[in-house]
């Protein structure tokens, strides 16, 4: 025991990718310098935590034991915080969280964004030093691994996971327990367990947050799955765009080996398990299980036909179990609290919680974890704080490039695997991109097809060629060359691509188009028949004319136009000189009255 008294105050400063980009490392230095200057370094400490998920308000800092939450803290605020909060015991009002038109909220738990969540996967967020194995152990970390090795047979573990109803969090939603059982069945050795950290869906970053903020929870889940299926080796495939996640995972692996929690003869129970990180090199399709395994083998990541499933012939043709980061992070609480506890959360078919990345046109951008069955409305309006700039909610895109759009009138849909598929979207990895009325759905559909054309591996024809044709057609429509019958053609071709492609990427690549046609057919028709983009996004389909009855003669468009194309004088309606106009849409973005069409 050290003679030093424990500090009475902890500043839990977020050190996720988002907050580091907003300057949290400089803030740490400034805080420590300030504490030292006043000889308070033993009274208060600054702890670097993993991602808190509230990236838009970063850098964020929670102060314990009282639970005060500060956001958008800059290094120059450090003297103020130390003076007021540490010395005088007063909260610094200007750094508190505040929603537009509402009062400041000092306590973290009272903020809707945090208070309405139920955290299982993100149980340690903001509470532990992401790089400290001791902090993880203090929060029941590796207790599940100990319990499993001490008291449970591999069959018991599989039974427990099966009973919990946990389903894969990477997209497909396949029951995890069944996957493990299948893999255990095969008697060929060696076996492998692989963690899929190739989080490619644009607009999803929950796996990054878990790998950066709580890396040991992934390692522990992998070790337990290795014990259950009979594997002695695990791989974590992490995408190249996540350098911080790779660094933190590596440190976690090294620490766990030092503690005897990974490596040979773990906890003296005769179980050997080792984990290696394999960084990806930038290919979306490597999120597909067979492609990912080829990539680990040092080959091009091209999916192959199943069966045989990976459980039978995966990495180097050996039995391989593959789960997502979030799935592994669920294992520790299930083992410790029991399957009954886990299955009491969520809906009939979807148990537990799910982490969503709430992004786009929503006030509180960030990561949220809610029980399955929570409605989209609660997610966007109660937790997300609604749509900023007084705009209207138009649609939510769920499930990344493979998912679909859910329109505003279906906002009450409950979020679970089945309801989302019924609505034409899918759970995917959990990205929710909120769109307001300034988003053009045809342009969005084109964006996703463009993405899939880029990322198609080129192995099968429907995906490689079919998507290109779809992209050409959609480009024609947004550039004003659309013709009658194009929509029917897109629907037919999209259905063909979904039916005949080889892997998950192709099978769902046309979904964004099909779902936007299903719910926003009128926008396609406006583009094709009226040659007009209702959301004023597609430059070729905007008239660039000021509507006299709506113009308030404020001159904002005139002041912001980069090409001097607006003719305006005080108390006069503005006009646009189309010979000078470059169709950049700056005037439309700046007009507060929607007077330009």
């Amino acid at each position: 025991m050290s003679a030093k008294p424990l500090p009475r105050m902890q500043f839990m400063l977020c050190a996720g990718t988002g907050c580091i980009a907003s300057g949290s490392l400089d803030l740490k230095t400034a805080m420590e310098r300030e504490l030292k200057k006043r000889n308070l370094q033993d009274e208060a400490v600054v702890v670097m935590t993993g991602c808190n998920g509230f990236c838009a308000m970063g850098p964020i800092m929670a102060v314990y034991p009282d639970g005060i939450f500060y956001n958008q803290v800059k290094p120059e605020h450090a003297p103020l915080i130390v003076e007021e909060h540490v010395l005088k015991g007063r909260v610094v009002p200007q750094l508190l969280f505040k929603e537009e038109g509402k009062d400041q909220i000092p306590l973290m738990k009272d903020i809707g964004f945090f208070g309405l969540q139920r955290v299982i996967v993100l149980r340690n967020r903001g509470l532990i030093d992401a790089e400290s194995i001791d902090d993880y152990i203090a929060r029941d970390g590796y207790a599940a691994l100990g319990k499993v090795l001490q008291e449970m047979s591999p069959e018991d573990v599989i039974e427990e996971i099966k009973k919990s109803g946990l389903r894969g969090r990477g997209g497909g939603g396949f029951p995890t327990g069944l996957k493990w059982e299948e893999c255990r069945k095969y008697s060929s050795f060696p076996k492998y367990t692989v963690c899929n950290g190739d989080e490619g869906d644009p607009g999803a970053f929950m796996d990054r947050s878990v790998m950066e903020g709580d890396p040991h929870s992934v390692l522990e889940g992998m070790a337990i799955s290795g014990y259950a299926i009979g594997a002695e080796k695990g791989f974590i495939y992490v995408r190249a765009e996540y350098p911080l996640a790779i660094a933190r995972l590596q440190k976690a692996i090294d620490d766990a080996k030092d503690y005897g929690l990974l490596g040979a003869n773990i906890l003296d129970k005769g179980f050997d398990f080792d984990i290696e990180i394999y960084p990806g090199a930038g290919a979306f399709v490597c999120g597909e299980s067979t492609a990912l395994m080829y990539s680990i083998e040092g080959k091009r990541g091209m999916p192959r036909i199943k069966p045989p499933r990976s459980a039978e012939a995966g990495l180097w043709n050996q039995p391989t179990n593959l789960n997502n980061v979030e799935t592994f992070a669920n294992i520790n609480p299930i083992i410790l609290n029991g399957s009954d506890w886990f299955s009491s959360i969520g809906t009939e078919g979807s148990k537990g919680t799910k982490v969503f990345a709430l992004t786009g046109a929503v006030t509180n951008v960030g990561l949220v974890e809610v029980p399955m069955g929570t409605s989209l409305k609660q997610l966007i309006f109660d937790i997300g704080g609604g749509i900023p700039k007084k705009r209207k909610f138009k649609a939510a895109q769920m499930g990344g490039p493979s998912g679909g759009c859910i329109p505003a009138d279906m906002v009450d849909v409950a979020i679970d695997y089945e309801s989302l598929i019924e609505a034409g979207a899918m759970m995917g990895s959990g990205g929710v991109v909120v769109m307001d009325n300034s988003t053009c759905m045809v342009d969005t559909a084109r964006f996703f097809v463009d993405f899939c054309v880029d990322e198609s591996c080129g192995k099968c024809i429907p995906c490689r060629e079919g998507l290109k044709v779809m992209l050409e057609k959609l480009t024609d429509i947004v550039e004003g060359r659309g013709e009658e019958g194009d929509v029917e053609f897109l629907m037919e071709l999209g259905q063909h691509i979904n039916d005949t492609s080889h892997c998950g990427l192709g099978k769902s690549a046309a979904s964004p188009v099909l779902s936007t046609i299903r719910y926003f057919r009128h926008e396609y028709d406006a583009h094709i028949r009226e040659k007009h983009c209702p959301a004023l996004v597609c430059p070729s389909l905007i008239d660039f004319v000021v509507m006299e009855e709506k113009c308030k003669k404020c001159g904002l468009c005139y002041r912001n136009c980069p090409s001097d194309a607006i003719i305006w004088e005080k108390k006069q309606v503005a006009r646009i000189d189309t010979t000078k106009c470059t169709r950049c849409r700056t005037c439309i973005q700046n007009c507060k009255f929607g007077a330009i069409r």
Binding site: A21, F54, E241, G280, A281, A357, T359, G360
Partner: protein
């Protein structure tokens, strides 16, 4: 036909000479991964870090050192977007065109960069100052729209500030 000729011409230009003493540096990487063909991707990453890009000679030498067909190496290099066969500029602009950034207007930023720097996605400016890449989600959606310049992250970007930010990188 013209398109085909252009492609052929580009291919011919790609043959560049790396001095033998430079190539010898690869031995260290080959020693590290020898006999483990599944480590081709990490080996290529190390090589790219060393040379800045992966010219044909480097690929061939790695292939023979690791005992892998050079066609296989070329296949892997061209499959993954992280690898490049052509030299890059001093600063690599990685503009995120993921969904969250796209919805928040990263395309407007792209248009400005294309206009200001005069290069398209995947190209390098003639003075060797910038290379432009469009990436699909950096996982920093809370800061959308986001651009990486080298290792620096620029979040919550306003299209108007783009020019000023670029000026900081000479």
């Amino acid at each position: 036909m013209k398109e085909r000729d252009d492609i052929l011409k580009r291919k011919v230009q790609k043959v560049e000479v790396v001095p033998p003493e430079e190539l010898a540096k690869l031995d260290e990487i080959i020693d590290r991964y020898e006999g483990r063909p599944s480590y081709l991707i990490p080996a290529l990453k190390d090589a790219q870090e060393m040379f800045g890009y992966l010219p044909m000679e480097v690929q061939r030498k790695l292939a023979s050192g690791l005992n892998i067909p050079s066609s296989h190496v070329y296949g892997v290099v061209t499959f993954y977007s992280f690898f490049t066969i052509e030299p890059r500029g001093r600063h690599t602009l990685r503009l995120c065109l993921g969904t969250a950034c796209y919805v928040k207007g990263s395309k407007d930023i792209l248009d400005i960069i294309v206009k200001e720097v005069g290069i398209n996605v995947g190209e390098t400016s003639e003075d060797g100052r910038f290379s432009l890449e469009a990436v699909r989600c950096l996982g920093a959606c809370g800061l959308a729209p986001v651009m990486l310049i080298g290792e620096d992250t620029h979040g919550n970007m306003d299209p108007k500030d783009t020019t000023k930010i670029l000026e900081g990188y000479q």
